[in-house]
């Protein structure tokens, strides 16, 4: 089965056996995008988060077919090491990464937040990231990074 996707602003066509396959595997294995990561596979940790039509979605828990006709943006689509998105730059500036496994989710969830609320308070940032799990312990730096990005973006 052939599916036409729009990922990071580009049309991408993939062939899948099963339209119910979670979007995550299409992104990682068919399109080679390693920004979204498999964490729990249950939609509970957030490390697989991508934007679908601007909304943060747990790509491990939504079928790839549901992304057809929508705009998917992954961490790679936000910016590059040479030209990072303000959020990515803020995470570098705050050194808000330890192992980095959760960081995809933190940044993507924050990107969705900043789209609807360009000046979030610390409480609002904490609430938005409450369902993204990190076990290294960079939480405070992550919150600071999101704050810094929101300031840089205005």
């Amino acid at each position: 089965m052939k599916l036409a996707l729009n990922v990071n602003g580009k049309a991408a066509s993939i062939v899948v056996d099963d339209p119910e396959m979670p979007l995550l595997y299409a992104l990682r294995n068919d399109l080679g995008l390693h920004g979204p990561l498999f964490g729990c596979g249950l939609g509970q940790c957030g490390s697989c988060t991508v934007l679908v039509d601007g909304k943060a979605v747990r790509s491990c828990s939504v079928p790839v077919s549901s992304a057809v006709g929508r705009k998917v943006v992954t961490l790679e689509g936000l910016g590059t090491p040479a030209k990072p998105h303000p959020l990515q730059q803020a995470f570098i500036d705050e050194q808000a990464v330890q192992c980095g496994y959760c960081i995809n989710g933190m940044i993507m969830q924050a990107a969705a937040l900043l789209q609807t609320n360009s000046k979030p308070s610390e409480q609002q940032i904490r609430a938005a990231l409450a369902e993204n799990l990190c076990r290294c312990g960079t939480h405070l730096r992550i919150v600071r990074a999101v704050k810094r990005a929101s300031e840089a973006m205005t």
Partner: protein
């Protein structure tokens, strides 16, 4: 290209260079070992006692560090880069670290126990110090000055007083050191440090925040296939049986590998392997070695202490407590483990992984009626759990549940109940119906409210219920009590007639004095027992046929299972009861005693087997007694075969306790029969 990948490419090109190019390079030996056999084009050494194992300086003066310790997310890449740059006095940007490439990096042991810096890092530091010292010596010769008059800055050696200098690139660039690593090489004085101890920005972060970092899971090799390991369902469980019949329907499924208790399924795609891991059927042994939850803390406190370690001694608490103003703070820290024996075993089949699903399960648990015993792997597994009685309820949350919930489409949640006994499940079902109003109030007002589309967001939470609960009372949807009672009667009648008839048999012989005749025959105790039993078995089977006919004609009880399964279980049950009857008669002195003993067995059978009261509603002690009675298990078999259509595999767990009961009774009977002979 990204930094990380370009590093890999660097290692790749270096590897190629070392393989093919080194024959062209005239070997220059800085350590004075002499010209090596360069013609042999030796691969880069990975020896941990050679400087070349850890370090290389190319023609441009760039340093490559080879580390056997890998970065598991701790940031050691940055730290190792700092260590090498510091010891060699080169700028950080000119040092690249290659980690864990076994063709290039020395074996520094496993990456664990916080040893990457304190052991692995020190080896690299010593390699760099050895190299630094050798480079200083070489520079002294080249410049024609004393070694101790030289200083190194940014990879260039120059006299402290100034003058002609020489760079690392000029001294060793692109060639091997051919030096033994000297653990005693003079180390740089920490007070001269300019890199170590500085807040250096992590080298891996730019890649990590832009999705360019290569994690272990991101490696792809040519022709790679995927696998998933099938985990046991309990600690120390052993794999008893498995089949992959359903996996074979999955496109891209390759096969399974089994080695002892290890089972893995293979697929051409990751998703095929994941689907196969859900479709493969396994039977694991049950392991009951965990401590009793109710007495967990007692158990933990009784565990033998292997080592009593005193980490710090700041005083004697016993003495301190005697002082008049001692402030005593006492607390006991335990892990909270939820336990309530009254909970009904419930399995979940959750196709929708979301906060909603989690909260619904939590809300069900909070009703106190449902104890989640685990997840069903698929519908077939859920069906099996209901059929065997492993679960009394199965809660199914469909795949599109949260999607439809946030769209305001009021999706349905399915609760299937084993309603064979309508009395046992009635209250629980009533509690389920309350659920829709209460379960998700928190989710739909909190941060998740924004997940719902704007027009539906507000009315959603205040709606009469964001979702619907559908209850299927399985096996007995109309809650007809006779469906439960009539099959039960089959067991009750058999228990009464079989035990009593045989119970009187031998006592009667003893009373009439015909026992001597039996004693005179050469027949053994077992043979006499068999002779007594066979006619009654036939009578029992006739009884069963009559009851079954009446059940279907008169009471319209369904018969979903097979007669062969039913009759074979009946046979086992009859045999067990007859054995008990015979044993009673061997023990009893006269017919009156035998009658009393029969009732002593019969009454608990009726009261505690689940015939009269719902089994799971009884107190624990009564359930324990009930479990020992064959009628308890026979009732489950008969109800299962008639109402659930159970087959062999589902009845085995109930059949073996009956068989065990029979063996125990035979053992007792034989002993007493012998003693009566004496």
């Amino acid at each position: 290209m990204t930094t990380h990948i370009s590093r890999q490419l660097a290692s790749e090109s270096r590897r190629k260079f070392l393989r093919t190019g080194s024959a062209l390079v005239v070997t220059f030996s800085i350590g004075g070992i002499g010209e090596a056999a360069a013609q042999a084009a030796p691969p880069k050494t990975v020896a941990a006692d050679q400087v070349d194992g850890f370090l290389a300086i190319d023609a441009k003066g760039n340093v490559t560090v080879y580390s056997g310790k890998v970065d598991l997310g701790t940031g050691v890449r940055t730290a190792l880069t700092q260590i090498a740059a510091e010891e060699l006095s080169v700028p950080l940007a000119r040092v690249t670290v290659i980690q864990g490439d076994t063709l290039l990096t020395p074996d520094q042991g496993i990456t664990f126990a916080s040893l990457s810096i304190q052991v692995g890092g020190m080896q690299i530091r010593q390699a760099a110090a050895t190299a630094r010292d050798a480079l200083l010596g070489q520079a002294a010769t080249t410049l024609g000055v004393a070694k101790d008059t030289l200083t190194i800055s940014k990879g260039t050696v120059a006299p402290k007083s100034g003058g002609k200098s020489v760079s690392y690139a000029q001294l060793v660039g692109g060639r091997d050191f051919q030096l033994k690593l000297d653990p005693k090489a003079p180390l740089k004085d920490p007070k001269d440090y300019t890199i170590v101890g500085q807040p250096i920005a992590r080298l891996d972060i730019p890649d990590k925040v832009t999705g360019r970092f290569t994690y272990m899971h991101d490696f792809k090799v040519k022709g790679m296939i995927h696998a998933r390991v099938i985990r046991p369902r309990a600690m120390k469980a052993t794999l008893q049986a498995w089949n992959d019949f359903d996996c074979r329907k999955i496109p891209g499924y390759i096969g399974a590998i089994r080695k002892g208790n290890y089972l893995a399924v293979l697929g051409r795609s990751e998703w095929a392997a994941i689907k196969a891991s859900k479709a493969v059927e396994t039977t694991w042994s049950d392991w009951q070695g965990l401590p009793d939850k109710a007495a967990l803390w007692e158990w933990l406190r009784k565990v033998r202490i292997n080592k009593d370690e005193e980490l710090q001694k700041i005083g004697n608490s016993a003495e301190t407590m005697k002082t008049p103003h001692a402030k005593i703070v006492s607390a006991s820290y335990n892990f909270a483990i939820h336990t309530d024996p009254k909970h009904l075993p419930t399995a979940a089949l959750i196709a929708d992984r979301s906060e909603f699903s989690r909260d619904i399960v939590a809300a069900l648990r909070n009703t106190d009626y449902f104890a989640f015993i685990g997840e069903a792997r698929d519908e077939a597994d859920a069906e099996r759990m209901l059929a065997t009685g492993e679960a009394q309820f199965v809660v199914t949350i469909p795949a599109d549940f949260s999607k439809r919930l946030v769209r305001g489409e009021r999706p349905a949640l399915l609760v299937e109940a084993d309603a064979t006994d309508p009395v046992a499940t009635g209250n629980a079902i009533a509690a389920v119906n309350q659920l829709a109003q209460t379960a998700l109030t928190r989710d739909l007002s909190g941060p998740l409210a924004s997940l719902a589309p704007p027009p539906a967001a507000t009315p959603l939470a205040s709606a009469p219920g964001a979702f619907e609960v559908r209850v299927h009372a399985r096996y007995n949807p109309e809650a007809v009590t006779q469906y439960n009672i009539v099959p039960g009667l089959l067991g009750v009648i058999l228990t009464m007639t079989m035990v009593m008839m045989t119970g009187l048999a031998i006592t009667r012989e003893r009373e009439r004095g015909t026992m001597e005749n039996l004693l005179a025959t050469p027949a053994t105790a077992l043979e006499v027992m068999t002779g007594k039993i066979v006619p009654y078995i036939l009578i029992g089977l006739v009884q069963v046929s009559i009851v079954l006919t009446l059940a279907q004609w008169l009471f319209r009880v369904p018969m979903l299972g097979s007669y062969s399964v039913l009759y074979l279980s009946v046979l086992l049950f009859i045999a067990a009861n007859l054995m008990l009857g015979l044993t009673i008669s061997s023990v009893a002195q006269n017919q009156l005693q035998a009658m009393q003993m029969t009732f002593f067995f019969f009454l608990p059978s009726i009261l505690l087997s689940g015939f009269m009261f719902p089994f799971r509603g009884m107190p624990d002690w009564a359930q324990y007694i009930g479990q020992a009675l064959p009628l308890t298990h026979f009732l489950r078999i008969v109800r299962g075969v008639l109402l659930k259509g159970n087959g062999w595999s589902e009845i085995v767990p109930e059949a073996w306790p009956i068989a065990l009961f029979m063996l125990a009774v035979i053992a007792i009977g034989l002993r007493f029969f012998r003693s009566t002979l004496d």
